[in-house]
């Protein structure tokens, strides 16, 4: 009986392990292997050489591109967190009826009914030189000349990132906030805590897991992105994802694989650091 249960446990774990091994570990293993290969202009050949890494770490472009990637990640994280936390706080503590909470939460998800790319591209006519934003500002008399930095700049890239990914912050934070025992807040109130004290001493500490999950979503999404950066910067800025996609376009697969490995390692380190702050498994 005991043995049976043991075997059953293994059997139950097998499908998922197989799926993960086949579709996660194997491809990553391939990428690592190919990153040591060599490439000619139109083909790749098996080898064990460090050329790709040497070139990657030897080029000043790599460092500036990684710095740029981090910059996008940090700034986007800051804004999505601020907005996401505020929205979730409003939904969880200001809206009293569950029906309204659900209704408003669904309203937040409406933009997600359209494709990511469409939501991104729709900013272009809005922010353009002769776009809605500029013509409105001119008609209000705020500016005389169209503002150029609205589109094809770091501003437009980050704006789009924040627009695309704030919901990934709202959902987990809202979720943890809803599970905070309301009596804790009443107790704080009874003990004479101000609203701000309640926020910093009760709500924020208890929402940490949600914040952390949201942060992991946002940081990994931004660091792995390439299409938003390409469209919204008018191809003028680069992040690591674009470096990889350029290499792939030019058939330099080993070099792309090496960059991907370095990016993967970087993202894993970032997540490891984030997880030092909160033990998500315990909190879930």
């Amino acid at each position: 009986m005991r043995l049976n249960r043991h075997v059953a446990g293994w059997l139950m774990a097998t499908p998922l392990s197989l799926v993960l091994a086949l579709f996660l570990l194997l491809p990553i293993g391939m990428i690592v292997i190919v990153s040591f290969w060599g490439a000619t202009e139109f083909s790749i050949y098996p080898a064990f050489q460090f050329d790709n890494y040497e070139f990657l770490f030897g080029s000043p472009v790599t460092y500036s591109v990684f710095i740029n990637t981090f910059k996008y990640a940090v700034v986007t994280w800051f804004f999505t967190l601020t907005i996401g936390f505020t929205v979730a706080y409003f939904l969880a503590f200001h809206v009293r009826s569950l029906t309204w909470q659900i209704a408003l939460f669904l309203v937040c998800t409406i933009p997600f009914w359209t494709s990511n790319i469409i939501r991104m591209i729709s900013w272009i006519p809005f922010l353009g030189r002769n776009g809605l934003a500029n013509s409105t500002l001119i008609s209000w008399g705020v500016i005389d000349e169209p503002v150029e930095w609205l589109l094809f700049s770091d501003f437009s890239v980050i704006l789009t990132f924040v627009h695309l990914y704030t919901l990934f912050m709202v959902v987990p934070i809202f979720n943890t906030m809803m599970r905070i025992d309301k009596s804790l807040i009443e107790a704080a109130y009874d003990n004479g805590a101000t609203g701000f004290q309640t926020l910093t001493n009760i709500i924020i500490p208890l929402t940490k897991p949600g914040i952390m999950i949201g942060s992991i979503f946002v940081v990994t999404l931004v660091m792995g992105d390439f299409i938003t950066v390409r469209f919204m910067s008018g191809s003028q800025s680069a992040n690591v994802g674009r470096l990889i996609s350029n290499d792939i376009a030019l058939l330099q697969y080993p070099s792309a694989a090496a960059t991907a490995v370095v990016l993967l390692a970087t993202v894993l380190i970032v997540i490891a650091v984030l997880l030092r702050f909160v033990d998500i498994r315990k909190e879930l």
Partner: protein, 428 residues
């Protein structure tokens, strides 16, 4: 187990049985069909892929009508086309690629040479694709000129030869002379040199295309026109020349000269039509697309000449038998005029202009090919008016335009170095 689960299992099982039976019936049908029709060309499907310029659904429809078989088209950008031709030989039957791509892809052995004796209109193909000369007096421009990668020594040949060997790598289909596109209404003065692209007057309103092998040629035209660099061969630069070229453009980029870079045809159209950009590298049908929205746009002929390109159809190495015959038939049909006329009405040139003439009105032929003033409204293949009576094509006649080619799109010996520099330029 509970009884309810048992019934559940039985239901599922009977459902599966039913599904299996249906699948079996379906599969006998699909397996049976090709066996009955295998001898018939009508059942053949040829898969073609290429850049958006000539992958037109109208062509596929017309093929079905005239030849009876099915042509499946996939449109990709230049980089993706190269990638696919080099790495996925089984994913296509016909590759619609440019000559410089051919130089890159041919060594992989994924394409097969074509027997010119099977090409009915071979003798009528323009000289550019045969001995390299438009007219007997023409000089051959720099870069990867089509005739230099147009022939191999025989079937299975891997080396390009410099004579008309009778075995062609690509059958030329479409080509043009490219230059800068401008918005005359926003510039308000004549533009006559490539160097204007980096003129500070257009700060934040210029663009260049982000496809390295083509972009570098536009850059070279600009640097040469500025008098900054004189190249030995723009189509085959030395490392120093590449460095100098990128230094000039990186400086301009940092100074904010460029509004954006574009990679696809649609992007270039949108940049120009929205007024984000007033001067940029552009392709002919993109000008047509801007114009058909009623926005003035000129394909500006420049003193230094044009940057030219040519495309053709290559056959996958895995084509054989009846499908190969169908492919030859398709190529012969392609050169027989209908497609040529269609493409010429978009501003391209056909490899066999004389057959295309029969599919164009006298007015259209005069406007597009001979550089004459239009006698009536000129419309695009989709019916939008592009020019009024009295208008003349930018750059003039076929011989004026193709005779003023300064260089061809190219792949250089230092290509990998150039590509790395290009990446740095984008990231700078």
């Amino acid at each position: 187990m509970t009884p309810s689960k048992k019934t559940g299992g039985m239901n599922r099982r009977s459902l599966l049985k039913g599904a299996a039976a249906t699948a079996a019936i379906a599969s006998t049908n699909t397996i049976g069909a090709p066996m009955i029709w295998a001898q018939n060309i009508k059942d053949i499907t040829l898969r073609q892929f290429g850049t958006g310029v000539s992958n037109l659904n109208d062509v596929a429809t017309k093929v079905k009508e005239d030849l009876g078989f099915t042509l499946e088209m996939t449109a990709l950008d230049s980089d993706a086309v190269t990638q696919r031709a080099a790495t996925q030989p089984d994913s296509f039957d016909i590759a619609d690629i440019e000559y410089w791509i051919c130089k890159k892809v041919w060594p992989t052995g994924n394409l097969q040479a074509m027997d010119t004796s099977k090409i009915a209109n071979y003798d009528k193909i323009v000289g550019i694709f045969r001995d390299g000369k438009l007219t007997p007096e023409s000089t051959i421009a720099q870069g990867t000129a089509p005739h230099s990668v147009g022939f191999v020594e025989g079937p299975g040949g891997t080396e390009f030869v410099d004579n008309e060997s009778g075995w062609m790598t690509l059958i030329p289909t479409i080509y043009n002379a490219d230059t800068l596109g401008i918005r005359p209404d926003l510039i308000n003065r004549p533009i006559s040199n490539w160097s204007e692209l980096l003129n500070p007057e257009f700060k934040g309103k210029a663009s260049i295309l982000d496809i390295s092998s083509i972009g570098i040629m536009d850059m070279a035209m600009v640097c040469e026109s500025m008098g900054e660099i004189s190249y030995g061969d723009k189509g085959n630069m030395t490392k120093e020349e590449i460095d100098k070229t990128f230094a000039i453009f990186t400086e301009a980029k940092k100074a904010g000269q460029f509004r954006a870079f574009w990679k696809t045809f649609d992007e270039s159209v949108n940049l120009m039509a929205s007024g984000e950009v007033v001067i940029q590298s552009m392709w002919s049908p993109a000008i047509t697309a801007v114009k058909s929205r009623g926005i003035p746009c000129v394909y500006q002929p420049l003193e230094e000449g044009y940057r030219s390109w040519g495309g053709g159809l290559g056959l996958s190495n895995s084509l054989s038998g009846l499908e190969l015959e169908a492919a030859y038939e398709y190529i012969n049909w392609y050169l027989s005029g209908w497609v040529g006329g269609y493409l010429m009405r978009q501003g391209y040139y056909s490899a066999v202009p004389e057959t295309s003439k029969e599919f164009m009105s006298e007015n259209e032929w005069g406007y597009w090919f001979e550089g004459k003033a239009a006698t009536d409204t000129i419309t695009s293949p989709t019916g939008d008016p592009l020019a009024q009576a009295g208008d003349v094509r930018d750059g003039g006649s076929f011989t004026d335009r193709m005779g003023a080619v300064a260089c061809w799109n190219a792949v250089m010996d230092e290509n990998q170095y150039m590509v790395r520099k290009w990446n740095e330029f984008i990231a700078a």
